[in-house]
Symmetry: none
Subunit: 141 residues, 2 copies
Amino acid sequence: MMNLELDFRSGVPIYLQVVERIKERIADGRLKPGDQLPTVRALAQELRINFNTVARAYRILDEAGVISTQQGRGTYILEMPPPEVSAEIRRRAVRALIQRALIEAERMGASPDEFVDFVNEQVRRWKENGRLQPIEFEEGV
Amino acid sequence: MMNLELDFRSGVPIYLQVVERIKERIADGRLKPGDQLPTVRALAQELRINFNTVARAYRILDEAGVISTQQGRGTYILEMPPPEVSAEIRRRAVRALIQRALIEAERMGASPDEFVDFVNEQVRRWKENGRLQPIEFEEGV
DNA sequence: TGTACAATTGTATAATTGTATTATTGTACT
DNA sequence: AGTACAATAATACAATTATACAATTGTACA
């Protein structure tokens, strides 16, 4: 039971109100990292609104990096709200990340140049699109 | 312990991620013909997912002729992994590997240029030494 | 041996979860 | 009135989980 208070007469869209109420709950600590939010249908029933409206609010929070919504599983408050990762910590983490990728690539038999080529290829797309999207896989081999 | 890395936020279905991770393990030789994979329940527990999701991944690999699943017995890497465990599969595996690293780096707040810088820095060492060595980290922040 | 039975394995199906697409409703503006 | 647009709802769908089941293996005991 979330007990979010909505104002249907305010003219503010419901989905935005839901977004704000949840942000408040996180800000004041009533929602903590790892907590599971109600399912879109459960919260919709509680608020007497359509579950798509809740889904829309969740999607906005997801894109803002506040929560993680996972089809078939649920939605959760994220562990690490993005901004406050300090520069130094981040640099180390990225270095370690790349190191692991390099070691795996080497194990797969990739050459350093091949690796760099792929990186450049994908970084170019990253810069062009402004954001990254997962590669798609076929079901077959 | 398989230590497969999943990304629950990527939007790529878990079962497909499991398929790809296992293909990579076969491609780079960490899984060899005859090896037994973890049981669906064991792998599910390790990955904190439902065992039916693992079963779905195994079924796809089975239908692709990569593994053999036997009710009541277990699942095994087939003696003759289909031919395409070769250049093309490896390229795709390396691409996917880099993609995952990029997505994680982006989430950590790294810029494309910063990422490329680190890659070049480490690849240079790779070329010089002829091999890779893990980075050492100091304690504390 | 062999037989009964529990434990362990993968399988099948339904229920639950979020997602995508389309239709409906409401509101502001001409 | 009419039109355009945003918000909400309806519907169908895909991913994951829950539950019950079937096949195989291991083990105890006659």
